[in-house]
Symmetry: C2
Subunit: 489 residues, 2 copies
């Protein structure tokens, strides 16, 4: 179980070179907007980071390439932490953010596609930084697709339940023989979504800058906006409709699009997928109930307005985008409880969405259903099926264990952060919105507020919670176990 | 699957006769305190209820006695509902409570050992009613012991994880060959606890009436008090210490006492039981952390006071007694979050405590631990053991399914009750404290307040939540499934 140090170091080298390359785009934006100090900050980050990455990659001779699960977890976790740290450098160098904890929080929030901000007034930030902030949201979405499509299966781990051979739904290997091809297909869809949304948002009246940043936020389900009031800033039905559509599209298993449209049947294949079907049912039911509640309580003047804000917020929270078109913290309790419930669920597997994912809840519902049937008919043997395929006991056990671990991490993190003395709803919802990579919570971290209230240690804790949630807990949590490090020779 | 109607009707008959007989005690108390109207109310309940029960039992000819699981669930659930309804009659007849929903809420709260009250000023109630309220708390505790020790195993159902043959810990059949003997042993302990606590509380200064009612509340882990301020009314260290000790003793698996002290080893056998060990560890850790938090935040004047209130409240909430010696809703958030977390756990299996029970959390922790080990060593095969015995996959699956069903019922009930518009913490904690049979919650249902704020429909919903929680969900939940009734011919 000796750690494969060479492969680890080379992975960090690649990451640093990639980070350096991606920063050329915000560098260009800063120059375009004449923000000299910001441009210098990016240049001053790109050069040393790329050079150091180049050294690590080319000086270290490649060793044997097979990684153990342990090496894989360590590499993935350290890469995400390092990427957050590197992304934070221009924030500090440019003087946009003075506190390194704020910068690190902002960047782990961005790369994990959480989209929670600790900057009280984002509108005061320079364009280069705002662009970088949105672009890392988009990069993070792509990063999680790599993680789900390539990293986890190559480690032979079924943390992504779609990667295991006995897994439900369209597995990766069904579509293309190679994992790298699957990854390419995912990026293709991701790019198509990005380009088309930018065009549509510009058609709806946004300039190229706003259209780009808000597209990065919605297709990556990150939800960062360059306005303090998020999407509510525009107060535009067409913009809300476009963003709702793209959040909804991005919350779907991206493989499913290929799987469905490369075979006969097209959209019927899509609807035949159980996870997709329940994703749509949840959105329809919850947005319907919230609309009704908002309408009956006269929260908005008519049914149309109620539905407008309800559908946007339902899709935004379920897909874990966290964009805001209305302050849901002012809604009646019934609607707030529905939003709170959505925070646990999240989007579909193999999407950029966070949360526990619809498919896991589907499995749990089937478990509950089975347990009731078994009690009424003690001799019945009922298997758990998804898309007409039996799930193995191991797969079911992985899913239930992950959900319990999720509850444990939420409980532990909420207890720790509660030392700050803020009310229970603020602290619990802050942890929930971070572990689910959503963005806004309730009360002091409600949709109209931000995470600037927290201390540096709280921000660091929440950054870790975001990273843990993004990496489906295990990859990150194991780093905190003494057992993990004891085995290192 | 035809319902065995005769056995069902005869069970109701027995219940009514028992209820009539137990009401002789509060009848005597009313006469003793010269409360004529209350005495009449009890007499006016006892006569028709007993007579009707007698008729049902002796007129219906016994059929075959083997009950199906379905018959069993129906019988148990209807018995608890009927018992709550019968208990409520004297409340209304005596004029103590005018609203039938209040009376039903009070009695299901009492019989399920929840101890939540919807009566704003309990001190204004007559002695006969106060006694009956406390006595039903005690009866409910005994009722749940019958349910756990006799009813569930006779149905061949492992809802009580101690009843199944592959179950962890000291199983029933190890101690005594017959279930009825086990039940007798449980009542013996229950009676010893009751008599000794009454004597100790009188020694600490209570009169016989207060000592009896508060003993009924603590050994049954119901927590009803005849004072609005619960135990805080006495402001007495010795009384708090006695009640803490008895709550703690009553939260333990009562079989374990027999099992431990009938064999060589005595107290060492007790400590060797994993559930007992973790029950003590939880109490020690949580009360220690709360004391520290209360002390460091200067909530109380010194360490001694901090510990005094912390240990009482920790034991009271973990054992789901819900007695109050200090308003924990005014404590700092860290302590409140710990109390909130305890609300999920509950006491040990085969005790009078509610909640999900320590042993189920123990199994879940072991599941999480295993899932981490499997990820680090993908080929490892690790079984889940309790007290050195392997748990079968079915037992583990029953436990995980019950916990998910618990979460589902809490979510559903909280959403339904949230239509009332009270804040999220009030509604969520009301549901949690009812399903866990605890008593007090947070905010508007905090320890210094009561459930009188709720509407009749809310009270009915919460009464059902208490019953569902008390019967470990399945027995009660199945009644609400159309499937359950479709099979009835
Ligand atoms: K987000
Ligand atoms: K209670």
């Amino acid at each position: 179980m000796n750690l494969n140090r060479k492969a680890f170091v080379r992975a960090l080298g690649v990451l640093m070179m990639v980070m350096g390359a991606t920063m050329l785009l915000p560098l260009a934006v800063s120059i375009l907007y004449g923000e000299g100090k910001v441009a210098l900050a990016f240049a001053g980050t790109i050069i040393p980071v790329s050079a150091f990455g180049f050294l690590l990659y080319y000086v270290v001779v490649p060793g044997h390439t097979s990684l153990t699960a342990r090496d894989g977890y360590l590499t993935v976790s350290i890469c995400w932490i390092l990427a957050s740290f590197i992304s934070a450098i221009p924030f500090v160098l440019s003087g946009a953010v003075s506190n390194i904890f704020d910068a690190f929080f902002e960047c782990s929030s961005s790369l994990t596609t959480t989209g929670a901000t600790s900057i009280a007034d984002v509108e005061s930030l320079p364009h280069g930084i705002l662009f970088w902030r949105a672009f890392t949201n988009w990069l993070g979405g792509m990063g999680i697709l790599i993680f789900a499509a390539a990293v986890l299966p190559s480690l032979g781990i079924g943390a992504n339940i779609l990667a295991a051979t006995e897994a439900p739904g369209p597995t990766m290997d069904k579509i293309t023989p190679k994992i790298s091809d699957t990854a390419k297909n995912l990026y293709k869809i991701y790019t198509i979504f990005t380009v088309s949304e930018i065009i549509l948002l510009m058609a709806a009246g946004m300039d190229l800058f706003d259209a780009s940043t808000h597209t990065f936020g919605s297709v990556g389900t990150g939800g960062f906006s360059n306005y303090n009031n998020s999407i509510a800033h525009f107060n535009s039905m067409p913009i809300e409709m476009i963003i709702t559509a793209y959040m909804l599209l991005s919350g779907v298993n991206l493989n499913l699009y290929f799987y469905s449209f490369k075979r006969r049947g097209g959209i019927r294949n899509l609807l035949a997928d159980e996870e997709f079907k329940w994703y749509i049912i949840i959105i329809a039911t919850v947005s319907g109930l919230i609309s009704l509640n908002l309408w009956l309580t006269h929260t908005y003047e008519n049914w149309g307005q109620s539905f407008r804000f309800s559908i946007f917020q339902t899709v935004s929270i379920l897909t874990t985008t966290g964009s805001v078109s209305a302050n849901y913290d002012l809604w009646p309790t019934f609607s707030k409880m529905l939003i709170f419930t959505l925070m646990f669920i999240g989007g579909c597997s193999a999407s950029t969405a966070g949360g526990l994912k619809v498919i896991r809840f589907l499995v749990v519902f089937k478990l509950i259903k089975r347990s009731i049937q078994v009690r009424l008919h003690p001799n019945a043997i009922i298997s758990i099926k998804i898309n007409d395929k039996n799930l193995s006991i191991d797969t079911v056990s992985e899913i239930t264990s992950l959900m319990f671990l999720h509850i444990l991490v939420v409980t532990g993190a909420t207890l720790l952060i509660s030392i700050n003395g803020y009310d229970m709803v603020t602290n619990l919802s802050a942890v929930l919105t971070c572990i689910g990579n959503i963005g806004p919570g309730f009360n002091l971290v409600g949709p109209a507020l931000n995470f600037s209230i927290f201390s540096n240690t709280d921000k660091l804790l929440l950054s870790f919670v975001m990273l843990a949630g993004r990496l489906e807990l295990y990859a990150f949590i194991v780093l905190f176990l003494p057992r993990f490090w004891q085995q290192n020779k």
